[in-house]
Assembly symmetry: C2
Homo-oligomer: 295 residues x 2
């Protein structure tokens, strides 16, 4: 998939330049804006953004809408990482090999960074210049708010806290991850479809199925990497979930069965994409990328 890797490099550069441009400029009055930039421009994989761009390859979506959806997703993702790293949560000093936001800027600023990133995400999504039918734009905002709130990311985080030091079932583990990371991955793809003039219910359903499958696959891979990879490649301390006594796919199923389950979801995701034919090339590439990633 040579073409795919070229596409990937080009799109990753596009996303970095976009975020750099759309983030608030540094202010000398308060450290907040600098801390916001630091937390978003942190060398992330931009997986959610790439899923948006791969989805946009199957349907026509206005560029300005794609840009604002990407900002909203990366800001929401960064907000969740900043708050998760704080001492009262996971208490992580490092994020991708650099000081986490609260270690660099202090806890009160880190708290405000997360809060502000959430607000800015909604400001971008509700922008009057999106070139999206307003009813669909409202649907996008509604889907996004549910995906990061108590029907999504925040609920997943609360379940994660409740499940620490507790053996849970495979079904409970899946549910937790569907809320914690799956909901936002799902929303990334669905919002992109909603922003297109040409979307219909059938496309929405296929993308819904695909994105739910790769969300789970992503998490299983995360657990396998946490068990198998070494710190240098991973960019964070491996084995942390085990040490924190959290259930993972690997702790419940073992490495080999976890790999089988991921492969099953991968095949199902590719099957779901069949009706799109060649147009699904990049979405299939993203599924493969997630399946084979080493960090």
């Amino acid at each position: 998939m040579n073409n795919f890797h070229e596409w990937l490099r080009e799109k990753q550069a596009f996303v970095e330049a976009l975020l750099e441009k759309k983030l608030p400029q540094i202010s000398h009055e308060i450290p907040l804006n600098e801390a916001i930039r630091y937390s978003v421009l942190n060398g992330g994989k931009r997986m959610r953004s790439l899923l948006v761009l791969a989805t946009a390859e199957i349907i026509e979506t206005p560029l300005i809408a794609i840009e604002n959806i990407i900002c909203a997703l990366e800001f929401a993702h960064a907000y969740s990482l900043v708050h998760d790293d704080m001492p009262c949560m996971d208490n992580d000093d490092l994020r991708r090999g650099k000081l986490s936001c609260h270690k660099k800027f202090g806890e009160s600023t880190a708290l405000l960074v997360g809060d502000s990133l959430q607000s800015i995400a909604f400001s971008y999504l509700s922008s009057p210049s999106l070139q999206v039918n307003p009813d669909n734009q409202l649907k996008m905002i509604h889907a996004f708010s549910n995906a990061i709130g108590i029907e999504g990311m925040a609920k997943g985080q609360a379940l994660d806290i409740a499940n620490t030091n507790k053996k849970i079932s495979l079904e409970e583990l899946k549910k937790m991850h569907q809320y914690k990371t799956g909901a936002l991955i799902n929303a990334a793809c669905l919002m992109t479809v909603l922003a297109s003039k040409s979307h219909d219910k059938n496309i929405l359903n296929i993308i819904d199925t695909y994105s739910k499958l790769i969300g789970l696959m992503f998490q299983i891979q995360d657990d396998i990497l946490d068990k198998e990879a070494n710190q240098e490649i991973l960019g964070k301390t491996p084995g942390k979930d085990e040490k924190d006594n959290k259930s993972t796919f690997v702790s419940l199923l073992g490495v080999s069965k976890s790999k089988e389950l991921a492969a099953e979801y991968y095949e199902e995701a590719l099957t779901a994409l069949k009706p799109f034919g060649d147009k699904a090339y990049y979405l299939a590439g993203m599924a493969e990328l997630i399946m084979t990633r080493s960090h």
Copy 2:
């Protein structure tokens, strides 16, 4: 103003019943929902909601829109209080005479309560059942996201942290409060106007002026009460700003000049309302209430 006080009692009861109904139900899986309910149903004055209802008396606004605007405002306000009370911010153990959220439910849950309340606020504002023209609904969401983010509440909070232990000018103090509390009060009134079919630019301008004036008046009264009231009436420890070495209207101007300034804003607010005639009765009443409040 006998009628006004009857109206006030009736509307306060309406808001409490509404929030009780619209808040997420308690879940036995996670403490999050209970902590969310605890933090919103805390005996607040519901000032922002009452301003929405008073604004709705001058223009026709669909009830369902009013209800969702009220939820969004009270959830955003509650989120800011929960995060502000946390140890890395103001470190307050008590909020209106009860344990603050992190003292009652722990810091990690308090962090998630604030994060979730912000998302739920946007979920209510983007609801498909609002009966508002979708372009105006998008404008409401955009105004709200800016009012609580880095052009509003979050920026005000960052300025507040930066200004501690520092003497600032009256203009800087006003600016900080316009961001910290003024922006949301302003958004409360403007969103109500935007939700109405019959609004025009003129009405928006008047309401904009009125709400900015009473926002400042509210803060000056807060500082005067912090200096003069006793703990029992105030429901929180008075003199905290002085102890924390923060600039206030009273520390910069003294009590007597602060009262004069508040009275000036009050008169200007009433003057701004003149074009509405008798319809402005409840908005005028709200201004008087804020001017004469004892807690």
